[in-house]
Amino acid sequence: MMPLFQLTRSSMIWLLVSILMVMAPYITVVPSWLFLLALLTIGWRLMVHSGRWSFPHWSVRLALMLLVLIGLIAELRQNTMMVVTVGLLISAFLLKLTEMYRRRDALVVIYAAFLLIVCSFLFDQSIPMALYAVGSLIVVTASLNTVFRSQQNNDIWRPLKRSAVLYLQALPMMLILFLIFPRIGPLWQVDMNAGQSFTGLSDSMSPGDVSQLTRSADIAFRVRFDEPLPAEKLRYWRGLTYDQFDGRRWRRSDRPREADRQRSLMPQYQGVEGPSTNVESFSYLLTMEASGQRWRYGLDVPVNYPGKFRQLDDLTLQAGQRLMQRQQYRLMSRVGPIPETLSAKDVARYLQLPAQGNAQSRELALTWAAQYSEAKDVSAQMLRFFATDFRYTLEPPLLGQTDAIDQFLFQTQRGFCGHFASAGVMLLRAAGIPARVVGGYLGGELNPLDGALTVRQYEAHAWLEYWDKSDASWHRLDPTAVVAPSRLAQSAAQLFSTEPTFLADAMLMRNGFLSDSLLKQIRLRYEAINYDWHRWVLNFHERQSGFLQQLLGDISVLKILLLIMFPGALVLSWVAFSLLRHRGARKDKLLEALEQLDKRLITANLQRRQGEAMRSFFARLTPALPALASEFEILSRCYEQICYAQDADPELRRQFKASIDRCCERLPKLHPVEAGAQGVTDGT
């Protein structure tokens, strides 16, 4: 016969609050029917608690469990493994509620709640989420506290206070552990968030794709420069290049080759003749949001990059894994043409065009090629062509399946950067000039508060690069710059603010809600804090060694140990002191006054005996000190009035005190008596 573990009322309340708090962050993540399950089990548990229902029969529990399992397996088709695993954890946690008999069952629920709090960081790592998690931790710990309280104690707020105090005391040590604990790489490969959709560029591009991105105000990455920022017209963030064209879409070649490690970019560049004023290099720290892709953005040409990245032969950066989480890296880039000696095979690759189609465009290109021999003249001619009748718009007319570029160049003549870049590369290639489309971002909003540049999805951009064999370098060419010169000078937000689809997915920003001066200030402040949050907390593993070096100089085991031990011991002794400090019980004011008199009486062994009533004490004193008889009368009357008649009149206390003082004054010199001579008669 198992004793029924009856949760106390406070325990029940805190447990329910913690379940709700722990589940709330998963609303957008896990299938919504799990919340129905939550309502069912919580409701049932409440009914059990109030004594109206009994615990569900085992067959009901089994049926529920099977249903949930089937449901989760079905979810596996639409959702990722990760979501299903978390769903499994949540449903186990909820089903346990229906069979919570003993303390141990309550513990299972609470420990699962701890685990769920941790797992919620898989889906959201923002500051509000972190604060929320701290709140949940405190509440869950409070319910853990209620489980271990005695049943008589039903004070509802006490566990919360206790739990908050515990966390406050734990905080310093947590900080130390956080700073010191060595961050090692993943123990095994986890494929998280596969199937999650990201906004951003993808590895193939059709002309209309980029304009889709302008619907979103999501952040693509943030950058903080060490030195002054590059000029606005230089803020081209290269992500990837597309070199394969099938008439409609651009793709990157299937097996991108790694750049030649020996290819030293800086010196070679400086050796090239040309206006050396263009040579600028910038170093900066870039925090890239999860993109689900392997390439990493960088300003123009990164020359210094973390060892975990590879540089491809188009000088874009590539990481080993898809980016599923915000990542931070430090780069140094230089701006300007990219020297490269192309082999015949490479030249063929960058001249690739579909065998047929777009005849009109090819013809135009060939006339340019006949007219000019230099690549830069052809490109200049092309820019002039674009500058004539073309319009830059977010909503270009739809193009047909075949000869789309002809249609764009000669009929519609309205397009977004993707159209211009793709048509431009096609024209240059047709004219025999190696060229490629570059995908990335242009611009970035400067946050004056922390000097960081925020690049958002609507700043996605496509431009092109052509290879000039005269100086054996790639040159950037941005047709958009001539069609809509203001795109370079002002932010996309200013440029497109009248277009209906611009920021269609981010209405708040679009309506100027967040661009009003005050709100903008708040938004910028928030983003600045957020940026530091990303830099210092979410990406601490990237910065840890640098930080520790800064803090400790050379890192040695001894120093690390000291760093743990010293503050750790300090904090713990502070906690121990505050807990174990011997605080005397608060003394009664009357007794305190009486003690004064007692001290004087002690020489004559007349002091008050243990447990002696006040009246009998004074009665005993009266024959010994007849001079003070009247005072003793007052004292015992006052004392009894205050203590037994519960008279709160302050006058009485004053009288008592005054009388004690008079007694002390008028007390005759007492002669020490042998213990027993006088004391024995009244002591028992």
């Binding site: 005695s150 515990l166 998280m192 601490f540 906690v575």
Partner: protein, 370 residues
């Protein structure tokens, strides 16, 4: 299985070691010399949980996961101090043990005193495995409580070592100590009904002290007046005297009674020792309830007939200790008398036949509060 036995043996070794270093005391304040603290089972599960979180944090390179893991780890460490503080400074005084009949539960009174203004929550005190109570000392500085243990034989009974433990605040650690209680309770033989009143009469003839009479209240003989106290039956008020203005008195009647009975060892030769003691005990209770005079004759011990509470206790004590080594009660360093006279007034109402249910009521109240 293997692990279990090792655990048990280890536990026993620690227990014995701990008792060796703790003498029996009347009063004791818990300090670091006494309090043992190790992670509880749920504490170990919590550590396992932390390990899982750490692996998650490492694998997803998620610094917030690290942060929560470390926060919980430091919480774990801080809890050591809290659990320890929940016992340390607590003073336990062993007040007294209450005698009882075999088969009932012996009660032991304790007094817990908090140190200074410190608060103690959910402290569990147990004398044996299955029963105990949880105490809070929040606003009140002192708390009386009674623990129960079922004795297994009559005579002077010493309770098991007292286990004081606490899992508060989070159940991650168990802080505990064992204390040898300096308490005794006299356990009387289990009263078992049997025999006839006439059996006692039959023995009456062998009365070595004939001719003694005792007065018994409520008889026919008028013995005098005594001052009226509230609660005395009104029909016995001496109204005549009252009418004369001599104050309110009641008439006092006694019954002259020469039925002094002897409870003798020799009464029921067919029974074995314990059964005889049990029957004698039952008769003590019966005769006491009737208000008869009774005496006790045991081999080596004769108590002349008398009545009253003190007499009853003397007789019961003789029955309780009959046949046990004289040293049994001396071993505690306390004369048996002292044990039960200190609790005489309580014993009085506890030892009547309703005691058992009384104690059980108390006990179930304690247990429901666990």
């Amino acid at each position: 299985m293997m692990m279990g036995s090792i655990r048990q043996r280890l536990g026993r070794a620690v227990f014995n070691w701990s008792l060796r270093r703790s003498p029996r005391l009347k009063k004791l304040t818990l300090s670091q010399r006494r309090i043992y603290i190790v992670p509880s089972r749920s504490g170990f599960v919590f550590l396992l949980l932390l390990l899982i979180m750490l692996v998650l944090g490492i694998n997803f390179q998620n610094n917030l996961m690290f942060a929560v893991t470390f926060l919980l780890a430091s919480l774990f460490i801080v809890t050591i101090l809290h659990t320890y503080a929940n016992l340390s400074g607590l003073t336990i005084q062993f007040v007294r043990g209450h005698g009882c009949f075999l088969g009932e539960q012996a009660a032991f009174d304790l007094l817990l005193t908090a140190q200074g203004q410190r608060q103690y929550e959910s402290i569990q005190l147990r004398l044996h495995q299955h029963s105990g109570c949880a105490v809070d000392l929040l606003d009140d500085r002192q708390r009386n409580l009674t623990l129960y243990q079922t004795p297994d034989r009559r005579g002077v009974f010493q309770p098991n070592a007292l286990l004081i433990e606490s899992y508060y605040p989070l159940g991650l650690f168990r802080a505990w100590t064992w204390v040898q209680t300096d308490l005794n309770a006299l356990i009387y033989p289990r009263p078992v009904a049997g025999g006839q009143l006439t059996d006692l009469r039959a023995i009456d003839s062998t009365n070595p002290f004939p001719g003694q009479q005792s007065e018994r209240l409520g008889g026919e003989e008028f013995a005098g007046l005594e001052p009226y106290q509230p609660g005395m039956p009104l029909r016995r008020v001496a109204w005549k005297q009252f009418a004369r203005g001599q104050g309110m008195h009641v008439k006092h009647y006694v019954e002259l009674n020469d039925e002094r009975r002897w409870l003798s060892w020799a009464l029921w030769p067919e029974l074995d020792t314990e059964a005889r003691l049990s029957r004698l005990t039952w008769w003590v209770l019966q005769l006491h309830a009737r208000g008869d005079d009774y005496g006790l004759m045991l081999p080596g011990c004769t108590i002349s007939p008398a009545q009253g509470e003190a007499h009853r206790l003397r007789v019961l004590e003789a029955l309780a200790c009959f046949g046990l080594q004289a040293g049994a009660s001396d071993a505690t360093g306390l004369p048996v008398d002292e044990v039960d006279t200190s609790g005489a007034s309580e014993v009085e109402d506890k030892a009547n036949p309703s005691t058992l249910s009384h104690i059980q009521r108390q006990r179930s109240a304690q247990e429901s509060g666990l």
